[in-house]
């Protein structure tokens, strides 16, 4: 019984515990503590070495094993952390399915992370897909619709993965992770596997064009579930893609598969998919008027950065990609928490019907401020570090256009998170929200803790970079050269070290100067929002002096949503095609005379037999 066994058993025990006890508040508190316990157990596992679980099964002559390495450890930490904060955040949620679903998700993800061969990878993959459903159905009717869409997409991806694994088995005769590396295949076989496996896994990751399901499925459910799903769920796809690149088709192979001869390789294709996944969903997010959907669309966009970083597959790029998983998870979690505490208190997340809540919910505002700075990738929060690493890697690889694309994406992020904060917390407080109170402590405390984490890992990225370095060495890369404050550039051709402590110091000295200027200016008087006038008119409650309706209307005029419709059109075309086929097949059963088919089969077979 080693620590990994203990971790999995505790996780399974948590599932059982949640099934029985999640109805009471005490039970939910204990549940939260159980995630902390799991984290503690996780720390007993040495991230630097591979640990094999003593659990194993033999089914149909395939031995299934579980093992843990640095990469799994890294993802497991994020999973458990997200679950811990989500459970805390959901202490006052009565829905039993939420807590059961959360623990089931954590368990299945841990199994996925410790998968030791392709079969157990697929089994865990399907379990993760289906346990995600438990967390997605917690909202109103619309969440059920979104879940149906999700599960259709997810199973489509899962089946592609299934096909890939079956092909691996039939080509190599083994399901172990080293099956392909030990029996090299032909280039077309590699190409097939890459399409099936990476394509299948990227559905979960919501890379273009498989992204249409994600925003609704993640956003429209209950708060803690959104926090957890948004933070980590989609990243399981990233983990599986890393596994694929490690064990099936490495980037060198991908780079030798030409889609356009001598010009455009499979890897280039994936890079462009990642870049487009950054830009297009981000600008779709800009158009959203529901805070939850806005955040969820960002989740899709941010996945692109991680994918991009990994596709660089160098020291810096992959470190950036992996680090962004951690950073993004913390930012997305805190943003969802903030938005859902607004929903909890006001009953809406429609950005056109909110505003001015900063005075009523200051802690939630603070949390959102920290979150959007991190999400937009600005110092001093942690999102900056990972994006910097990815940019740096892109530049040093000479991919200027992709770099430009990702910068455009960041621009969209900044615009849209500003819209989010402006429309909800800043501006005019609505009359109906006059008596709104701050969210309860069970919501604010995890928000504050997360804010601290975001800030600390932003100032001292070395803490999280250590985990990333372990993960990197587990997948066979040279780990990034880090110190507490940042990274040291490996090759000195392009100089570019990063030390966040210095950056933050500079930044805060700037803030200090601004504060001195602000304080030295004249005193202002606090007034009620209606005790005010504009253009010579006194304002009353009916007057809108905050342009939260149609925010960015001018910008929207420029970026027409053609790209979004093109994907919707594609999806609709597939659906209509299937429906058309269904109508045809139904007509088979609608005929009054049905015996002719018997004759057709018999006659055809006879004809073929005689000829």
């Amino acid at each position: 019984m080693n620590a990994l066994d203990l971790l999995l058993l505790t996780s399974l025990g948590t599932v059982l515990f949640s099934v029985v006890f999640s109805a009471s508040l005490t039970g939910r508190m204990l549940l939260t503590m159980l995630y902390a316990v799991q984290t503690v157990i996780l720390f007993q596992i040495d991230a630097g070495t591979e640990m094999v679980s003593s659990f194993g099964f033999e089914i149909f002559n395939h031995a299934l094993g579980l093992s843990f390495n640095g990469l799994s450890w890294f993802f497991a930490l994020i999973t458990l952390g997200s679950a811990f904060f989500a459970a805390w955040y959901g202490l006052n949620q009565q829905q039993k399915l939420l807590h059961v679903g959360l623990s089931a998700n954590v368990f299945s993800m841990l199994v996925l992370l410790s998968a030791g061969d392709f079969l157990s990878l697929f089994i865990a993959w399907e379990l993760v897909s289906w346990s995600g459903v438990l967390l997605m159905v917690l909202g109103k009717q619309e969440s059920l619709v979104a879940t149906l869409k999700y599960i259709t997409y997810a199973i489509a991806g899962g089946m592609a993965v299934f096909a890939g694994i079956i092909l691996i088995y039939s080509w190599t005769g083994s399901l172990a992770f080293n099956a392909v590396t030990e029996n090299p295949l032909s280039l077309s076989q590699y190409g097939t596997l890459a399409i099936l496996l990476i394509g299948g896994f990227s559905v979960k990751m919501a890379l273009l064009p498989f992204h249409l399901w994600q925003a609704e499925a993640y956003a429209l459910t209950s708060g803690p579930a959104s926090v957890f799903l948004g933070a980590i769920s989609a990243r399981m796809g990233l983990f599986a893609i890393v596994i694929t690149m490690m064990h099936v088709v490495d980037l060198k192979t991908l780079d030798s598969i030409f889609l356009i001869p001598e010009l455009f390789t499979f890897r280039d294709f994936l890079i462009w998919v990642a870049a487009l996944s950054i830009i297009l969903p981000t600008y779709t997010a800009l158009r959203q008027n529901d805070a939850r959907l806005l955040l969820a669309w960002h989740g899709i966009g941010q996945g692109g950065y991680m994918m991009l970083g990994l596709l660089m597959y160098d020291q810096m790029g992959s470190a950036g990609g992996l680090l962004h998983v951690f950073n993004y998870a913390s930012c997305q979690a805190i943003l969802f928490m903030s938005v859902f505490s607004i929903l909890h208190r006001t009953g809406t997340t429609n950005l056109n019907q909110l505003g001015g809540l900063v005075a009523r919910m200051p802690l939630s505002f603070l949390a959102m401020l920290v979150g959007i700075i991190g999400l937009a990738g600005l110092p001093p929060m942690n999102g900056f570090v990972s994006k910097w690493l990815v940019y740096r890697s892109l530049l040093s690889d000479g991919m200027a256009i992709v770099f430009l694309a990702s910068v455009i994406g960041t621009l969209g992020t900044i615009l849209s998170v500003y819209k989010l904060m402006h429309n909800s917390f800043l501006g005019q407080l609505r009359v109906e929200h006059e008596h709104v109170k701050e969210a309860p402590w069970s919501m604010t405390v995890p928000m504050m803790l997360l804010a601290i984490i975001i800030f600390i890992t932003g100032v001292m990225p070395g803490i999280s970079l250590e985990l990333v370095a372990n993960a990197q060495s587990a997948i066979g890369l040279t780990p990034v050269d880090y110190h507490l404050g940042g990274v040291v550039s490996a090759n000195s051709a392009i100089s570019g070290d990063l030390d966040m402590i210095w950056v933050v110091l500079v930044l805060f000295s700037g803030f200090g100067i601004a504060a001195i200027l602000f304080l030295s200016a004249g005193k202002s008087r606090r007034v009620h929002q209606l005790d005010n006038y504009a253009g010579g008119h006194f304002l009353n409650a009916n007057n809108q002096y905050q342009y939260s309706d149609n925010f960015y209307a001018g910008l929207m005029h420029i970026i027409k949503p053609w790209y979004r419709y093109s994907f919707k059109w594609f999806e609709g075309a597939v659906v209509s095609f299937v429906n058309l086929a269904a109508v045809f097949s139904r007509s088979f059963f609608n005929q009054a005379h049905m015996l002719i088919w018997m004759l057709v089969v018999v006659t055809t077979v006879m004809a073929v037999a005689i000829i």
């Binding site: 609608n590 005929q591 009054a592 005379h593 015996l595 002719i596 004759l599």
Partner: protein, 138 residues
Amino acid sequence: MIPDISSILFSGAIGLLVIGVGGLLLSNNAYRVLLALVIAEAGANLMLVIAGYRWDAIAPILTGDFTPQPMVDPVPQAMVLTAIVIGVGVQALALTLIIRVKKAYGTLNMVEIKKRMEMDFDRLSQEANQPGKLEDNS
């Protein structure tokens, strides 16, 4: 000129089969479908008997002094015996079903029957999940 006997017999069996199957395919009247079925079955039976026929042989019954002589194969005959009786049973059952269909829908037209049946299904489907239906029809 008369063709040889095997082609005559085969054409008889095949003719019955094809006429029967053709009737099954093309008849619109349920009763005529039944007649076509009878004819097709007769064709298959004839085929089976032909399978056991043997030149210059006697019927498979020992007569006279019980000396062994070449006989036609008794096995297909026994099977055809069975098949004929089976056929008549199915035919009687089909007739009772036709009677009920006629009673229910007032028509023997296959297209019409199908149409009415689908309408019935739609109605049943709408009624099935309505609350308060207390009939136990398991």
